[in-house]
């Protein structure tokens, strides 16, 4: 027996790609989304026995069907994008902050508190900044506490921030008891319904336009901050390798705490946009899972604020579209979660083919002999 015949070569071998031209990587992702849409179509056809193309048509209808729907889509995008931008600096630092849900909620709680206690008492030009500051501080506290423990004692931040979500949720239900209106309804109702005190003003007659403008501004600032500022650079270095960061003289602990303060503060702003700019009320379901969705949005966009507008659009389109399907076909709302889940699985999986290449055994036969 020859020695070479005994050589055991695996069926395939995986190697990291150096880099990939951008259009190729986006083509891979597009193919993944296409596959995902096919699977979703099969699923919907199996359940409703309707033509899947019709289903997709009604998804588009649900997102862009009327000017009111377009505004709602933009508004949903703005809020999701704001939270996604908020978690991005922390994630870039590889600080797994999954507490955006709680940080946003607590920001919303602080805004609601200001609206209830100071509404109609303080002039409007002072009230709005007060709401903003309160929301920022509240969100910041919720973000910084886990960061301090992470920096000082290396406490697991994923689990810590996760728990903080539920503390925030219970804190909200605690406050609702005192603020409920009407009595014993266990809901707060619309705050300052008559006077609109503490509400973000309408501009050009559009309720949500101010929210959208604020989020666009945050997007641009965040892009510049991460890409061109010194602090943004420090975040990338800490994220790539804490040892390198320490070696070149970056104070890692300070960067962790500072970045989480920014992250929490932005979540607070999102909370303010939700309470003062959108719902004008507070309940435990205010954020509605956006804090978790935002993590996926941010990750899918490779932490790039500009790409994030695209991924936000994708997720919002799916959610609104699936919601439309659900009402039209008389299905349960949860169908949108299933579709979102399927599409996310495919996109998550496709990243592998962007980063790695698979070499099959057959190609190297001559070399082995």
């Amino acid at each position: 027996m020859k020695k070479t015949e005994k050589l055991h070569e695996p069926v395939f071998q995986i190697a990291k790609r150096g880099s990939m031209v951008w259009y190729k990587s986006w083509a891979i992702r597009a193919v993944a989304i296409l596959f995902a849409l096919i699977i979703c179509a099969l699923f919907i056809t199996f359940i409703t026995k309707t033509n899947p193309l019709k289903v997709y048509a009604s998804m588009i209808e649900g997102t862009f069907g009327s000017s009111r729907k377009i505004w709602n889509t933009l508004q949903n995008m703005a809020l999701l994008l704001c939270i996604s931008l908020a978690v991005t600096p922390a994630f870039k630092m590889k600080f797994w902050n999954i507490g955006a849900e709680g940080q946003t909620l607590i920001g919303g709680l602080a805004s609601a508190a200001c609206m209830i206690y100071f509404g109609n008492k303080v002039p409007e030009y002072m009230l709005l900044p007060m709401i903003l500051i309160a929301a920022i501080v509240a969100g910041m506290v919720w973000g910084v506490v886990p960061a301090i423990f992470k920096a000082k004692f290396n406490t697991n931040e994923t689990l810590f921030t996760l728990m903080m979500n539920y503390v925030a949720m219970q804190l909200v239900s605690f406050c609702i008891v005192f603020w409920e209106n009407p009595k014993d309804s266990n809901t707060v109702g619309v705050i300052n319904r008559g006077t609109h005190s503490g509400w973000l003003p309408e501009i050009f007659g559009q309720k949500y336009l101010l929210n959208i403008i604020i989020v666009i501004a945050i997007t641009v600032i965040m892009y510049i901050y991460l890409k061109y500022s010194k602090q943004g650079y420090e975040i990338s270095v800490v994220g790539e390798s804490e040892n390198t960061a320490r070696y070149i003289g970056i104070n890692v602990k300070r960067v962790i705490i500072r970045t989480m303060a920014i992250s929490g503060a932005l979540c607070g702003v999102a909370g303010m946009l939700l309470v003062s700019g959108t719902d004008h009320t507070i309940n435990t379901d205010l954020v509605g899972g956006m804090g978790f969705t935002a993590i996926m949005v941010s990750w899918l966009a490779k932490f790039n604020p500009v790409f994030m507008t695209l991924t936000t659009f994708l997720i919002v389109f799916l959610e609104r579209g699936a919601g439309e399907i659900a009402t039209k076909m008389n299905l349960n709302e949860s169908v949108s979660d299933i579709l979102t889940g399927i599409i996310l699985f495919f996109i998550i999986g496709s990243e592998f083919f962007v980063q790695y290449k698979v070499n099959f055994r057959g190609k190297h036969k001559e070399e082995v002999k």
Binding site: F153, M163, Y166, I295, L331, D337, G341, G349
Partner: protein
């Protein structure tokens, strides 16, 4: 009265115990599976689907099949959900947090969708109830009623409750007393070293995640069959999945500790109903307790920094042999 409180606490604790045992086994392999809440929904709804289809297919359901079919359906459903997570994170090396959260979105949607509209898809609508099957699941030991408080505390549960405790003890024995358990812990602590010493890291991660998922799914099954008596309400399972993950930390990654922990958490979950004169605001504070306690445990263990109380060192990190 006292016996009733303990009884209720244990009933509340059992789903958490299943969830946390499953998550501990998963985390010991270095996979932080945040999809557990979703998997528990899948496990519960898969069991209900199995029971519903069986009850529809036959006129007089036989107790043996009534137990076996939902049980297998639940195990299979949640293992498959965990398999999605395993494939994405282990083979395709995706980020564990993102994959886990996506799985939770998917799983909760799957559960609520099929739980909520199963009757619409297969029949003529109406709310879903598999009471016959649930009664078999709830059957306690026959002499439990005659033994007073002893019977109430120890003997009055359906068989899944005992299974939860047995699985937790078995998992504890497996992790600390067997070679395979040692290998699994090695994979979670330092996969590169484990790999170098000849342990098949991929195999261990896959098996631990899928088996852990299947065990967690039983928590959903217990909740739906035993606790609610076989009727599905959307979102009824609530945040128990996240509480199970909290319990993992509270139990310091030890399954036998999570038995006591689960009963304590279960007790905290219902304590407010037994304390008279509580206002609704203090109920909210009470509901906060399990999470605050978990945070405290997390902080204290990280400050004390004792080696045996730490999370697995490679928890949440991907492993790629050619990367270092």
């Amino acid at each position: 009265m006292f016996a009733t409180i303990i009884n209720k606490a244990i009933i509340q604790g059992i789903p958490l115990l299943f969830g946390s045992t499953g998550e501990i086994i998963t985390e010991k392999s270095g996979n932080l599976n945040l999809g557990i809440p979703g998997i528990m929904y899948v496990g519960g709804s898969a069991g209900v689907i199995g029971a519903y289809l069986y009850e529809r297919a036959v006129d007089t359901p036989h107790p043996f099949w009534c137990i076996l079919i939902p049980l297998l359906a639940s195990l299979l459903g949640s293992a498959l959900a965990a398999l999605i997570y395993s494939f994405l994170t282990i083979t395709l090396r995706a980020n564990q947090n993102v994959t886990g959260l996506a799985l939770t979105t998917f799983g909760v949607g799957f559960g609520d969708f099929f739980g909520g509209s199963l009757t619409k898809i297969f029949g003529n609508g109406g709310s879903l109830s598999v009471k016959t099957t649930a009664d078999y699941f709830k059957t306690a030991l026959p002499f439990a009623d005659n033994l007073g408080w002893f019977g109430e505390i120890f003997l009055s549960y359906g068989f899944l409750a005992y299974l939860a405790v047995i699985i937790a003890i078995a998992a504890s024995w497996f992790l600390n007393r067997t070679r395979a358990g040692l290998h699994l812990r090695a994979v979670g602590e330092n996969p590169a070293t484990a790999d170098a010493s000849g342990i098949n890291v991929t195999k261990y991660k896959y098996l631990a995640t899928c088996i852990g998922g299947a065990i967690a799914g039983l928590g959903g099954l217990y909740f739906i069959m035993d606790y609610t008596g076989g009727s599905w309400t959307n979102g009824g399972f609530g945040d128990r999945g996240w509480l199970a993950i909290a319990l993992v930390i509270f139990a310091l990654w030890k399954p036998n500790m999570s038995i006591l922990g689960s009963f304590l958490f279960g007790g905290l979950y219902i304590a407010y109903t037994y304390i008279s004169g509580l206002s609704r605001s203090s109920i909210a504070i009470f509901n906060m307790l399990p999470y605050v306690v978990t945070i405290a445990v997390l902080i204290i263990t990280s400050i004390r920094d004792k080696k045996e109380n730490q999370p697995p060192a490679a928890l949440g990190l991907p492993y790629f042999r050619e990367e270092r």
